[in-house]
């Protein structure tokens, strides 16, 4: 190479920035400015909308059955067979960084507005396997679930499910009775028989919106006496909170930020949620079960949660802890919308 170009190259090398990549705030700054402002939290998430445009832009994810079953068996992380991750330049350094990015993303979303008499419609995929001590009962699945949840908790809602791969299968319905005047009727055949209750609103006004308070909430005492470490209980409560805060980005951002403080979390690069969407997971393992919070690898939107056996001896260890700990499950929310009545899909 000629001297002038060689010296220019050396000068250039000496001027390089110190860090591996650009400042993390740069990404948030660029992507928040490019994000389309929506009046409502998206009724169709970008991932699921594109799912029905086969081949259009070369980016497709459709529901899958085969790999979900495999994900429940003991073994290595649920892998999506892909040639290379898309983020060639940017790789999150650690699990906390993924969670912070998820928080920053969700903070851009507007709060979902709803009237008290409306319903939150949630479309999700769920795979649930339950073990009872001494036996192994597998629930066939995964299931496609449609839920209509009363916004203020006083109106009767509905959850229905059917096997995901079989559109001809009948829906199995489950009423979600509303709690009115402190009482709700738990059975259809005895409508006069009511039990005391407090409303279970789809919109929880009581969940914390700041990370410090949220952290306290995550670390509150373990009433179930699961025997897990406090850090693991806190971590597993994250997806619980996410499920309770579907219309509330402020709560979700707070729980991501609180989760970023939980020690012992790892990144798993290629993981699929139960709907087959590829992502990157923040994971934590305790007593042989690994809980994975799955995020879209590009946008860091939360996709779903997997709980899988981390090693084959986990099943044996679980027998000591009681039945409610033995379920291994996967869930993913595909769509959320505010609707006027049960049965409305948009």
């Amino acid at each position: 190479m000629d001297t002038d170009l060689r010296m220019l190259a050396e000068l250039g090398d000496s001027l390089d920035p110190p860090a591996e990549g650009p400042p993390i705030e740069l990404r948030r700054r660029v992507l928040s400015a490019t994000r389309v402002t929506r009046r409502r939290w998206p009724a169709l998430s970008p991932g699921s909308r594109l799912a029905w445009q086969l081949g259009a832009a070369g980016v497709v994810a459709t529901a899958v059955i085969a790999t979900v079953g495999a994900g429940l068996l003991a073994g290595p992380p649920t892998h999506v067979a892909d040639p290379a991750p898309p983020s060639l330049a940017f790789r999150p350094a650690d699990a906390a960084q993924v969670l912070i990015l998820a928080a920053e993303r969700t903070e851009q979303e507007p709060e979902l507005r709803a009237r008290p008499d409306q319903f939150l419609f949630v479309e999700s995929n769920v795979q649930q396997r339950q073990l009872t001590v001494g036996s192994d009962v597998a629930v066939p699945g995964p299931q496609l679930t449609h839920s209509w949840l009363s916004v203020d908790g006083t109106h009767d809602g509905l959850t229905r499910s059917r096997p995901l791969g079989d559109p001809t299968a009948a829906w199995v319905d489950e009423r979600q009775p509303g709690c009115r005047d402190g009482r709700f009727a738990p059975t259809l055949d005895r409508p006069q028989h009511a039990e005391p209750c407090t409303p279970n609103p789809a919109y929880r006004a009581d969940l914390p919106t700041d990370p410090a308070t949220m952290r306290t909430y995550l670390y509150r005492p373990d009433e179930n006496h699961t025997g897990l470490s406090a850090d693991q209980v806190a971590f597993e409560r994250v997806s619980e909170v996410l499920g309770l805060s579907l219309g509330s980005p402020a709560v979700q951002a707070a729980v991501y930020r609180a989760a970023a403080q939980i020690p012992g979390t790892t990144i798993i690069e290629s993981v699929a949620d139960v709907a087959g969407r590829p992502g990157i997971a923040v994971a934590r393992t305790d007593t042989g079960i690994r809980t994975e919070l799955v995020f879209d690898r590009t946008t860091y939107r939360y996709l779903g949660t997997n709980r899988v056996f981390a090693d084959p001896s986990a099943a044996a260890a679980l027998n000591d802890h009681g039945w409610h700990l033995l379920s291994v499950s996967q869930e993913a929310v595909l769509r959320v919308a505010v609707v006027d009545k049960v049965g409305d899909l948009r």
Binding site: T62, F90, T298
Partner: protein, 199 residues
């Protein structure tokens, strides 16, 4: 059994840009591919303080113009660096000040070819570095753009032409002019020969 069709995660840039026409969130993938190298290039030219702003402005400009991207070009790197170059053009004064500051800085040590020449080399290398920085400051912006896209961006002449939307002949003439000035600034001792290595 449903067919699993998974995203091709090594899509060419053109497909990512096309996808972003329908879904702006897909633009993030383009950011993830190129942010590091664009930032590094901007950082070299303009320093820490302004690099982040310039790269942000470049990506936003690219986002706003994504519908005009020529999808027949699978590789968006020249397009992005062209947009970045335009943004850098808005910060010309800052860029010159950056080079002039470098030109005044104390000579830094560079590896010597042999221990015996270490002292001499270090002094002359440091001095040369300063002269080089001064030369960059003095170049007209257009010539500097071409020179650095070649020297720091590793672009071939054709890609520089497409990035800056100028004919290849113009790329050559600006590059030659810039290199001549750089060689003059470095002084007679550093000009061994002048082969024009083409791309």
């Amino acid at each position: 059994m449903d067919v699993v069709v998974l995203p091709d995660l090594s899509d060419p840039d053109a497909l990512l840009i096309r996808a972003s026409w329908d879904d702006p969130d897909r633009f993030a993938a383009l950011y993830d591919r190129y942010a590091a190298q664009l930032y590094r290039y901007a950082y070299r030219r303009i320093g820490a303080a302004a690099a982040e702003d310039v790269v942000a402005e470049a990506f936003l400009a690219a986002f706003r113009r994504r519908h005009t991207y020529d999808l027949s070009r699978p590789d968006a790197r020249p397009w992005l660096f062209g947009i970045l170059t335009r943004e850098l053009g808005r910060h010309e004064r800052a860029e010159r000040a950056h080079y002039r500051a470098l030109a005044r800085s104390a000579a830094s040590s560079t590896p010597a070819d042999s221990p015996a020449d270490a002292v001499v080399d270090r002094v002359s290398a440091g001095a040369a570095r300063n002269q080089l920085a001064a030369a960059l400051a003095a170049l007209p912006a257009r010539d500097r753009d071409v020179l650095l896209l070649v020297a720091w961006g590793d672009f071939a002449y054709g890609d520089v032409a497409s990035a800056l939307d100028i004919p290849v002949g113009t790329v050559r003439s600006r590059l030659n002019r810039a290199r001549r000035k750089v060689r003059d600034a470095l002084g007679p001792t550093s000009t061994e020969r002048t082969s024009n290595d083409g791309h």
